[in-house]
Symmetry: C2
Amino acid sequence: MRALPFLLLLSASATLHAAEGMWTLDNLPKEELAKTYGFKPDQQWLDHAMRSAARLAGGCSGSFVSEDGLVLTNHHCVAGCVSNLSSPENDYLNKGFTAKTREEELVCPGNEINRLESITDVTARVREATAGLSGKDYIDAKKAIEAKIASECVGDDTANTRCDIVNLYQGGLQHLYRYTRFSDVRLVFAPEYAAGFFGGDPDNFNFPRYNLDMSLLRVYVDGKPAKIKDHFTINPKGAQEGELVMTLGHPGSTQRLLTVSQLETLRDQSLPERLFSSYELRGLLLRFSAESEENARIAQSALMGVENGIKSNLGRFQALTNPAVFEEKRRAEQELKAFVAASPERVQRYGDPWSEIEQAEKVARALSREYGSIEMGLMSQHLGWAKSLVRAAAERGKPNGERLPEFTDAALPRTQASLFAKTPMYPEYEKMRLQWSLEKIRERLTADHPFVRELLATQSPQQLAASIVDGSKLADPEVRKALWEGGAKAIAESDDPAIVLARKIDPHGRALRQRMESEVSSVETRAAERLAAARFEQKGTSVYPDATFSLRLSHGTIRGWEYAGQTVTPFTQVAGLFERATGYDPYKLAESWLNAKAKLDPATRFNQVSTNDIIGGNSGSPLINAKGEIVGLVFDGNIHSLGGAYFFDESLNRTVSVHPAVMIEALDKIYAAKHLVRELMH
Amino acid sequence: MRALPFLLLLSASATLHAAEGMWTLDNLPKEELAKTYGFKPDQQWLDHAMRSAARLAGGCSGSFVSEDGLVLTNHHCVAGCVSNLSSPENDYLNKGFTAKTREEELVCPGNEINRLESITDVTARVREATAGLSGKDYIDAKKAIEAKIASECVGDDTANTRCDIVNLYQGGLQHLYRYTRFSDVRLVFAPEYAAGFFGGDPDNFNFPRYNLDMSLLRVYVDGKPAKIKDHFTINPKGAQEGELVMTLGHPGSTQRLLTVSQLETLRDQSLPERLFSSYELRGLLLRFSAESEENARIAQSALMGVENGIKSNLGRFQALTNPAVFEEKRRAEQELKAFVAASPERVQRYGDPWSEIEQAEKVARALSREYGSIEMGLMSQHLGWAKSLVRAAAERGKPNGERLPEFTDAALPRTQASLFAKTPMYPEYEKMRLQWSLEKIRERLTADHPFVRELLATQSPQQLAASIVDGSKLADPEVRKALWEGGAKAIAESDDPAIVLARKIDPHGRALRQRMESEVSSVETRAAERLAAARFEQKGTSVYPDATFSLRLSHGTIRGWEYAGQTVTPFTQVAGLFERATGYDPYKLAESWLNAKAKLDPATRFNQVSTNDIIGGNSGSPLINAKGEIVGLVFDGNIHSLGGAYFFDESLNRTVSVHPAVMIEALDKIYAAKHLVRELMH
């Protein structure tokens, strides 16, 4: 049920809900934790938790769960890897994968796992280097100082260290996050798609649920399993209703502190346009998948991603088209404006950041069609590689501080890793997506737009796509490597059609990106700095920053909810899974489960809901109790959680996780993975 | 360019623009016509114009152009018919069709053309019969009186007469429109798709254009070409820049008089949901079409319709998400509210229709998901037929006044004609669409919704769709006829799977339809009556009613426009077509044109723009001059015209039409149709 009316219940109060907040580990709401739950974590608890949490660089969370580098995360977080490793003969995505020995563990191409080691406030250094600047000067200075800080932090250890500048509070604070970087990630266990994603898209974001959305990876160092001192252990008993549970993960992005004009752009332009495009792509992929089993396999993980994106963006769109949400946002903005206006000193200090942002949003709206089409519009592996190679050749010749962020010394290793990863190429699929994205560019800009004329000349999108995919050699990682190593000269001389096209597009894309940065993001960041400062003055540290794919803790309790007169209880059991299984996709149960039915205890807890405040990116987060034991594996939110991008409503917003009991039961009785159970329970 | 900023120019003035208005023929802005153009049409002119205009019941306009029943309309208005008549051997849609003799003219299955004969104001009769009633009583009484009036009007002549009650001003006035009904419609001429729709979707709603979007039909009576006294003649010279030109056609629907709360529902829910669904369907059809030439042919006209709908709904959505548009709508509403509030007598007379509508909109929003899924959600020929048969069996047993509108005596002939029409059945295509729409219902309502459980039970959408399409015999018109004639007993006893499913859905669909009617449309109609009356008191007859697919005249002049510093001139020429042709779809020119290039005068005018106020449904309208000669054939609007659903902006909103010169030139020199040229020029 993704009905809207629940939003009408939205409280007009500006006070935080008990469970609200995605808190950074250096600024937890300690008073709240002590008062509400009697929980007072010491520094040792926090350090252990921080070093037991894992970040999947591709956009998920996870946790270390053994001293031999085992990492617990969701099935849907490794679906891309499993799909890349699959072939018609070894269809791991649909048939599942269990490594019986460490030798059988398979390298996930291009995957990277990060472990946070330290957080340092570098706001003062960044402010100093950018003081008094604006527009392009500001962007350039900010880029330079951030590259410098990150570079110093990484030092010579580019292979194993990663340092990111995290902009908190819309750029109000800059923190330096130093990570250990694990770039040899191997697949240990993944259940069948039908078990990991039982109920498929129809059940996604719904509850009751019955998903074994778990997988196990292992990080390797120097070809051997990494030795991990800090890791969580699993408590198969889980937590009881009402008990304190915490998620420790990497929520990707929330927009709770955006101004009204920024939210209007999302509501009126960005979200609908993203949805329009995703829906059309979904239709294309649905039919492509219906053509053959092999096509279904090829498109499976992409389709899963598109459908998940649709549900989540639709939930956001519906939240923003609810008048009650906007009213509350307007009210909160008015309150802060009044707070500033009440003192001439504050007016002097903060100015009018709202109007500055509103002006920048006008530019963003006007540029978005060209920016989205020319800089971001091509859906193609070939052109992704080519763009990366063309830009790298130009950027690597510049001083570190002047490069685009993805080509700074600190970032180069992962740009390279993702460029050189061995991923399969399906030419028909690639042609379809490239042709379609060329058609969309022509549609959005019209056939008479100068860029479209230059791009297509007298070719049709179909022809151009075919000529790239048939003619380019970039699908061979060795060719990409040679072009990378050949640098600017090799790129300039290449007659590979993907490189030729990327060279043609590059100046247009760069120009638009630069305008977006100097006329929109830099203006908004500078304004947000002052907004954040005003908010600090108004509310102190009671405010948490928007999610930025950096480590956050959110607290809550195991709890169901009531909606439209119905009570939803917090746990499901194995018995319910067998009741729900119709025998047909997406309610077709994996055979291994059907065969094991007699061995399973029907009362085993399966999935559960809790009041934690999470968002996309939190997938794979451990749900831990006060003792730091894993009592759940976060994999979803309920339908009401989708408005969480903009606000938190404790009465309805729920986190959905896999219960530890079913994880152990399944590994033991269904997947014959006693060796993994032993390792996990150790 | 469907960029938004132009809307910011929107004038805040509430006065009518010179060319604004889709006027009914019994209430033309005579003073305006005389003052602006010195044009004073007498009753004879008007009667002749009215009887020369044609309405294609399927949703287009046209005009009678010879005494032997020839009808001029757009190619895209007959694409459905041409597609139905096409086969892999005779691909008329892509290769074109020209009947060399009358014997070669082909019956368009299920098509109907109407000619307006008279307009009678029946408001007083309807008001009298519904006085003091509300909710279901009001609906029932209104249905009964309207069925009675229509039935009296049709009399015994159901085959040749059609009478519709037209609700003008959101139900403020009821007019009875009596039409002659031509149900034997034959295809005479259609150019190749590549000529009729050159530039395809990318150029749709754009200008400059080069479309020969014309076709010729002929109406037959008793197996012979109908004798038509009133018809237009074509003036191949066309009109000059600045000259008065009028469209005479059937604009389908505008929403210019809707209240702010109704517009909000459109902006926040109806339009985006329609777009989401259309985009996904488009993706599905794009890939289906890419699978083979035959599939492309099968889906061609559906895809054309979906893409056209996307562009037009997107234009509307973008208009409504523009703050300037809503501001002007709010201003106008406030003005009318103030006018009412200024006099206690008016408050007494009109009450607060805005709040009543706002409450009804809340119900509409809450019901829309179920209504759209259960009553309107199945995309399937089989279930369309089955629903019609199941309902007809029940409705035909009731007194005329108590039936659903489509089964009243007056409406039965066309319901029957469309049900018995011989249309081709493509099982794979039908399965794909039905499966997809079943999946969408499950997605929108969730798998746990009681209706979804009843609908699918333990079947997957794919299985259910296959069982219907493989098992049903309804594709045979004789089977449909037998079920129709067998009435309620035959329907109750049928084990045809489509009928079985339709019987299962019917009570749910009816219940929702009834709630929508009694809680939404009846409330809003009653409120709109008072709004209309208040508007009359405020503005007199200077206001025109929203479009209702009834005959309207709009006046204007041949004129280009300026936008973003560029001047667009009003005419294109044949030379431009050849410049634009790249050789590849959708810029691939038909071979007949390439072969005839040397014979064509490159200076021949091709397409043109004028300031007339039109909307979807106007396609096929004649553009006439003051002498009543055809000087253009309306087929599109420019991109700025899409906001025309809600407001008219004379500086940018343009009608796009085919110039008469190119029509005659093409028939003569390309299609070797001298006999048609002779008939047209007679």
